[in-house]
């Protein structure tokens, strides 16, 4: 269903998850190291990358950072430690989501599908917010006539926020709508993603005007 780049150094985990994901209908390219993975990325052009954090050589977070430099490819981190430091670093590096080992293949599949899911394309409209133009039919976002390269998650977050301009949305609401988390989850995912979107659409990311933080609540898209 989706072509996945899966980087995992542990052979049995790699084989087992590759097997399981393949059974879910995905095309999986698995690699054992970050270097090999980055090479495969250029060769295969996958739709999504799943990275184990602890890798020999360059680790999963560094791989994520390098991918982000060139590509709006969605990234899911696979962490065995569940350490907050790993998660924070991963989110700062630009990961869209993370799962903690041991993970059930079904859960991983759901996350993959959520991350990959394109925004609802049935509504054909185009909204203009100052020099920011969001074209919902072509799923293109331009700022001052320049195309912005948003990851699918970032795009979905922006669409979700702009769908109801001026209305404050809680982080948990965004988590379930954008990330499709069924359990109450880690709000840092939202915060990190908002930071990335702001970096792309705001004139002054340090003083955001389009996406406002509503203290004690969540976020709000404020059209200029």
């Amino acid at each position: 269903m989706a072509s996945i780049l899966f980087i995992e150094d542990d052979p049995s985990a790699r084989v087992a998850l590759e097997l399981a994901l393949t059974r879910q209908g995905h095309g999986v390219t698995s690699r054992a190291s970050g270097e090999d993975g980055l090479e495969a990325l250029r060769a295969r052009r996958p739709e999504i990358a799943i990275l184990d954090v602890m890798l020999p050589g360059i680790d999963g977070i560094e791989v994520c950072r390098r991918i982000r430099r060139t590509d709006p490819l969605p990234v899911i981190l696979l962490t065995a430690r569940g350490d907050d430091l790993d998660i924070v670093l991963g989110l700062e590096a630009g990961a869209d989501d993370y799962v903690v080992k041991p993970v059930e293949p079904r859960v991983l599949d759901a996350r993959i599908r959520a991350v990959l899911r394109r925004a609802d394309q049935t509504r054909l409209d185009r909204s203009v917010h100052g020099d920011l133009v969001i074209d919902r039919s072509s799923l293109k976002v331009t700022k001052a006539d320049k195309d912005l390269r948003l990851t699918p998650t970032e795009l979905r977050l922006l669409l979700e926020l702009t769908r109801r301009p001026g209305q404050a949305l809680t982080r948990q609401h965004l988590l379930s709508e954008v990330w499709e988390h069924t359990y109450p989850g880690d709000s840092r995912l939202v915060d990190a993603c908002v930071q990335r979107v702001r970096a792309k659409i705001e004139d002054e990311p340090a003083e955001p005007r389009l996406i406002e933080t509503v203290r004690g609540f969540g976020y709000r898209f404020a059209p200029p």
């Binding site: 065995a80 430690r81 609401h173 379930s176 069924t182 709000s187």
Partner: protein, 482 residues
């Protein structure tokens, strides 16, 4: 620190004041004595000299008034002095000078004493001090018949000491001014000196506070010798020891944390493979046509692997609490939404009745809140009987805003001996049960999560029957609601 400084200053000032007062008191007393002695000596010498010079050893008859007047004139030559000469009685009695002749009255006793010796007395009259001198003459010749005609008179002199008194007042004023100045400068000096003395103490205090705040490399400079230097040295030694111990503890703590992290990593990775693989196996068995018995076995392995995974997860979670590695990821959460999400995610929506306000927002860690709610609801569903109800409301405890969640069931309730230990690890309601779905750590983890939030989790039996678990969490730091 202020108290010590104040006391030192007070003591210093008191000592200085005492010294000043003592010095001025002593000098006052000495000066007064010298002054009075000199004044008295002058008067007495004058009297003595005048009498000696003016009265010859032999007198012509009946000149007593004459010579008396002459003596009075001579003795009154000095201002402030008054003199009275009275005839001496030879019958043992005394004549007193007429009233108002002198500035002070002469007592009979004084006159009697003056008959024998040159005597004086200081007398205060109307606030003015006087020196009263009285004497007779000696060494004169008289006749055996009618001796009283040729006896020289007795003489009384009153000398005003008002000048000495004024001088003493002047001296007193000067001393008072000097003492006041001494007091003032003593206070200033004391403040300066105590600041100097207390500076090491204050430095020690600052260092101790810094040490208390966790700056373990704090040391104080050891200057000079004496008690303060000893104290500084002791402080440094203590800080050394503390730093060593804390460093060791930190190393140990870091090692144990790393161990937990390593263990979790080492366990989780193979578990990931096992879960993924058994999942595939179970699905293959369920859908494939390999045979009938294999499907059950594969499913069993898959379930047990998942349980093993849960147990490992719980163990890791508990050890993270023990290591103090658990941290809160706070978010502003609508309690009703969170409860609904927790129940919906586990398919319990129909089995638990929820009651609470829809607009209650609390700042907490949503993942941990979910864990606690799932544990409480799951526990009630598993061990109690329906209907299971979950009520929540705003509740303040000890002035702290918070939210209270009460989960009750209509089951038999908790046995009395279990209530006290229900949150302990690996405590299960039915000890005899050979197979349990839970890890035995669920309620412990729930309680740890509540405590991590600064809240409480308590177990009790509902008076109406059934178990009742009460969770209370603070609403979060005040500034986050601003």
């Amino acid at each position: 620190m202020i108290g010590l400084r104040l006391r030192l200053t007070a003591a210093f000032t008191a000592v200085a004041l005492l010294a000043a007062l003592l010095a001025s008191g002593i000098s006052y007393v000495l000066l007064r004595r010298v002054m009075l002695h000199r004044a008295q000596y002058t008067v007495l010498t004058d009297v003595r000299k005048t009498l000696t010079r003016q009265v010859p050893d032999e007198l012509p008859p009946d000149v007593t008034p004459l010579i008396g007047a002459q003596l009075e004139d001579a003795l009154e030559a000095v201002p402030g002095r008054k003199a009275a000469a009275v005839p001496m009685r030879l019958d043992g009695g005394v004549n007193l000078p007429p009233r108002n002749k002198l500035d002070v009255p002469v007592s009979t006793e004084f006159a009697m004493r003056a008959m024998r010796k040159l005597v004086f007395q200081r007398v205060i009259r109307d606030g003015t001090p006087y020196l009263l001198v009285g004497t007779r003459l000696d060494g004169y010749v008289t006749t055996s018949e009618e001796p009283q005609r040729t006896v020289p008179p007795m003489v009384y002199v009153s000398a005003s000491l008002s000048r000495e008194s004024a001088d003493l007042r002047l001296l007193t004023n000067a001393l008072v001014v000097a003492d006041a100045l001494a007091l003032g400068s003593a206070i200033v000096l004391a403040l300066l000196a105590t600041r100097g003395v207390l500076r090491p103490v204050r430095r020690l205090g600052v260092a101790a506070r810094a040490l208390g705040d966790g700056d373990l490399e704090t040391r104080v400079e050891v200057r000079g010798r004496g008690e303060l230097a000893d104290l500084a040295r002791t402080f440094n030694d203590t800080a050394d020891a503390l730093e060593r111990t804390v460093t060791e503890l930190r190393v140990m703590e870091a090692a144990s944390r790393r161990f937990v992290a390593d263990v979790s990593h080492e366990l989780r990775t193979p578990l990931t493979s096992m879960i993924a693989a058994t999942d595939v196996l179970a699905e293959q068995a369920a859908t494939g046509a390999d045979g009938d018995g294999d499907g059950g076995a594969a499913r069993l392995v898959a379930d047990e692997t998942r349980r093993l995974g849960l147990l490992v997860e719980h163990l890791i979670e508990i050890s993270r609490f023990d290591a103090g590695a658990a941290v809160l990821v706070l978010d502003d959460v609508n309690v009703l939404d969170a409860v609904a999400a927790t129940l919906a995610a586990r398919g319990w929506r129909e089995r638990v009745t929820v009651d609470g306000p829809a607009d209650l927002f609390v700042r907490l860690d949503p993942r941990r809140f979910d864990v606690v709610l799932a544990n409480l609801a799951g526990n009630a569903l598993k061990h109690g009987r329906p209907p299971v109800s979950l009520r929540f409301a705003r509740a303040d405890r000890a002035g702290v805003e918070g939210v209270e969640v009460v989960v009750t069931d209509r089951g038999p309730g908790l046995p009395d001996d279990l209530i006290a230990v229900v949150f302990d690890r690996f405590v299960k309601a039915e000890a005899a049960r050979s197979r349990s779905d839970g890890s035995g750590l669920g309620l412990s983890i729930a309680r740890e999560n509540a405590v991590l939030h600064g809240g409480t989790l308590e177990a009790a039996n509902d008076p109406d029957g059934g178990a009742m678990f009460t969770l209370w969490l603070p609403a979060g730091p005040e500034e986050d609601h601003a």
